[in-house]
């Protein structure tokens, strides 16, 4: 199979315009274009639909309000009253991942969430932010997060490193989950799309039918992963408020 037919071809980055600044390559790539489209779609959709501000919402306004309520409910369920401050952060994170995944489901469109560096950057923002939040709320006492009460004292040398590693693994598990789901889903779609062409006679219909079903599943996963990203962010914010 030629390299240009590879199912992984869709994840390649090509620069649309080459820009270099201070020795760093900051080219505008197809990934940046997808992110730009995502941000534009979110901004335009939300501003237009909420613009009417009618008490009895139209269908489109209802969609925006549902999204708003969804995240507001999530925050109040997991964090409580303290969570209201973080609504803008969690909402933009959720919308960016969700619309990014959805834009990626359009054929020929690049999926930026299928690159680990993108998801890892998002997860790092959450991780660093939550750690700072913990120190702001509890000061030096935040370190007691790694200290489990009610355990025999001789167990602590063993348990504290485990807790620290468990804490440090958060951004990795958060980013790998989103990235691997998107990567696996899109690769699978491409592999089965290859079968459609290469199978003899009319048997290509079967993989085609499978692709249709799989596309539905992928849209579900796109939503689910955005939801998981948002809910884990909420849980981490909650941890920064209530140690243990």
């Amino acid at each position: 199979m030629a390299a240009k037919d590879s199912p992984l071809k869709q994840f390649e980055i090509d620069p649309i315009s080459n820009i270099e600044l201070g020795g760093y390559n900051i080219s505008f790539t197809n990934s940046s274009l997808a992110m730009l489209i995502t941000v534009l779609v979110i901004t335009i959709f939300l501003t237009i639909t909420v613009n009417t501000r009618s008490i009895i919402p139209s269908r489109m306004q209802l969609i925006s309000e549902l999204m708003y309520n969804f995240i507001a409910q999530l925050l109040s369920d997991t964090v409580g009253d303290n969570g209201k401050k973080y609504f803008p952060f969690v909402f933009s994170l959720f919308m960016f991942v969700l619309i990014g995944n959805m834009v990626g489901m359009i054929p020929y469109q690049f999926t930026f969430t299928s690159h680990i560096i993108v998801t890892f950057a998002l997860a790092t923002v959450v991780f660093v932010g939550v750690t700072i939040l913990g120190f702001v709320n509890h000061g030096i006492k935040f370190f007691s997060f790694f200290y489990i009460p009610g355990v025999p004292f001789y167990m602590h040398p063993l348990l504290i490193p485990i807790e620290v590693i468990s804490y440090l693994s958060r951004p990795i598990s958060l980013s790998v989950r989103l990235f691997a789901n998107m990567l696996a889903g899109h690769t699978l779609l491409k592999v089965f799309a290859g079968f459609v062409v290469s199978m003899p006679f009319f048997t290509g219909v079967f993989p085609l039918a499978f692709i249709v079903a799989l596309t539905g599943l992928e849209i579900l996963i796109a939503f689910l992963q955005a939801y998981v990203f948002a809910i884990l962010t909420c849980l981490y914010i909650n941890d920064a408020y209530h140690l243990h």
């Binding site: 490193p161 598990s173 790998v176």
Partner: protein, 95 residues
């Protein structure tokens, strides 16, 4: 008047049926196999990656070649199981 009431009765019956349906689908809702397995495996792998990373860094700084890696690999594995335990407890709570 009578006609209107009949229609309303029909509607309320319809709504009740829908409510029952919704409740039933809510009960069936379960964690899907693949995504559940994925959740668990990423937790273990992430903790192992961090453990091995710390082990390699420790070895590099203190010149203790295999021991840092061995010890922190074990810590990482234990942290992975701890993560899985926490995820399971969270899922159990949701039910």
């Amino acid at each position: 008047m009578n006609y209107k009431n009949k229609n309303l009765e029909k509607l309320s019956k319809k709504l009740e049926d829908l409510d029952i349906q919704n409740e039933n689908t809510g009960k069936i809702k379960k964690e899907r196999g693949a995504s559940f397995g994925f959740k668990i495996s990423t937790e273990i792998i992430a903790a192992l990656v961090v453990g091995v990373g710390i082990g390699l860094i420790v070895d590099n700084y203190f010149n203790t070649k295999p021991f840092g890696l061995i010890i922190f690999f074990i810590f990482g594995a234990l942290a992975g199981f701890l993560n899985v335990y926490r995820v399971m407890r969270r899922i159990e709570k949701q039910r």
